[in-house]
Symmetry: C2
Subunit: 198 residues, 2 copies
DNA sequence: GTCTATATGCGGATAGAC
DNA sequence: GTCTATCCGCATATAGAC
């Protein structure tokens, strides 16, 4: 009972790392097994096929993304709105630095999506949610009078694109000051619509 | 002689499409051969291995990128500077819509880069060139007095990130108004540094 | 639950005929 | 140049013992 759960977790964790580093096709179940120190058929006790293991990890990643990009609108005020946006970016950048495998794996699922509707349907929904997060945030900011209601849709999409590609660029080993870029993005996009009390 | 060149081009073209659609590992040389209507060993007459074919296509893509992101600074003036930036984005969006395989394939090379220095070294250079294009453009704009010299480095990187991710998002089938997003990006980023003659 | 042994198939690559 | 035939290795997956 104890061991069963332990082996299961080891398979999931090892697959997560190896798939992200070598890719699905270049990572055989044998190599995962030997990395853990078990035999290949042992994996089949927990997952009925390689594809099922790949799909299982996909579900885990989907959950992770949803929790990462969610925002509690109720906590937003006129004064802390901009800070909240800054922090959203910083949190994503920190997460990316902590878990380098995350985006690598995610990018592989993006490629799978182009030839498997199982993934494309779910990813489209995630991406829509992701865009909506920014749109809802700006809409809420309008509602509480933090910003003016000008071009909010496009501005939210622009912020989402920057946010998303920052995490991608981190993978490429380009050493840029991503936090500064994100701050510049927020400042630039909002500069035209901020209310200036004077 | 005639046929030799024809077969060669068919291999390159078919591989380009199939690799982008199915991925390198999921596209066997046999499947490429049968798609063309030749036998597998015929491919080996032109390319000594599958890896060599993959690398050959990489070189083609690298050339394409370099020509796409190059800008003739000499033609830039104070009045047409912003228009030039707009057009840079429009050209990329149009190109992406014409050749959907291009970015799919490029993304696969990005993944290869994480486990093969042959690709990572070259891609790092491309990405650096890409960032420099935007930096040079803004620097030149400062020189000809089109914009003020404030935070130019970060602003150029921000524009590059948006530019790059627009082409990625087009692949995901999200139907956004990418041209508007790009215009908003240019306007937002430059709004703080433009010279307003009045 | 985890093992050894094995079935089965497909991949890259080459030999050698035409 | 392009073919048929073939080698070799490794992949997924399963049977069946412990």
């Amino acid at each position: 009972m104890r061991n069963k759960e332990k082996t299961y977790n080891e398979i999931v964790q090892t697959a997560y790392v190896m798939f992200s580093e070598k890719g699905f096709d270049q990572t055989s179940l044998s190599s995962i097994a030997s990395e853990i120190g078990i035999s290949k058929p042992a994996i089949y006790y927990y997952f009925k096929s390689k594809d099922e293991l790949i799909k299982y990890l996909f579900d885990k990643i989907v959950q992770e993304i949803q929790s990462l990009t969610s925002v509690e609108l109720e906590t937003i005020t006129t004064t802390n709105f901009k800070q909240n946006l800054y922090q959203l970016g910083e949190a994503a950048i920190s997460h990316q630095e902590k878990d380098v495998h995350f985006n690598h794996l995610f990018n592989q699922y993006m490629l799978l999506a182009s030839r498997d509707t199982y993934y494309s349907e779910r990813l489209l929904k995630i991406q829509q949610d992701f865009l909506n997060t920014f749109y809802d945030l700006l809409t809420y900011a309008v509602k509480i009078n933090a910003i003016k209601d000008e071009n909010i849709l496009i501005k939210s999409q622009l912020l989402a694109l920057v946010f998303d590609n920052i995490t991608n660029f981190i993978l490429t080993d380009m050493k840029l000051d991503y936090k500064k870029i994100w701050i510049e993005a927020v400042d630039s996009v909002l500069s035209g619509v901020e209310h200036h009390e004077q």
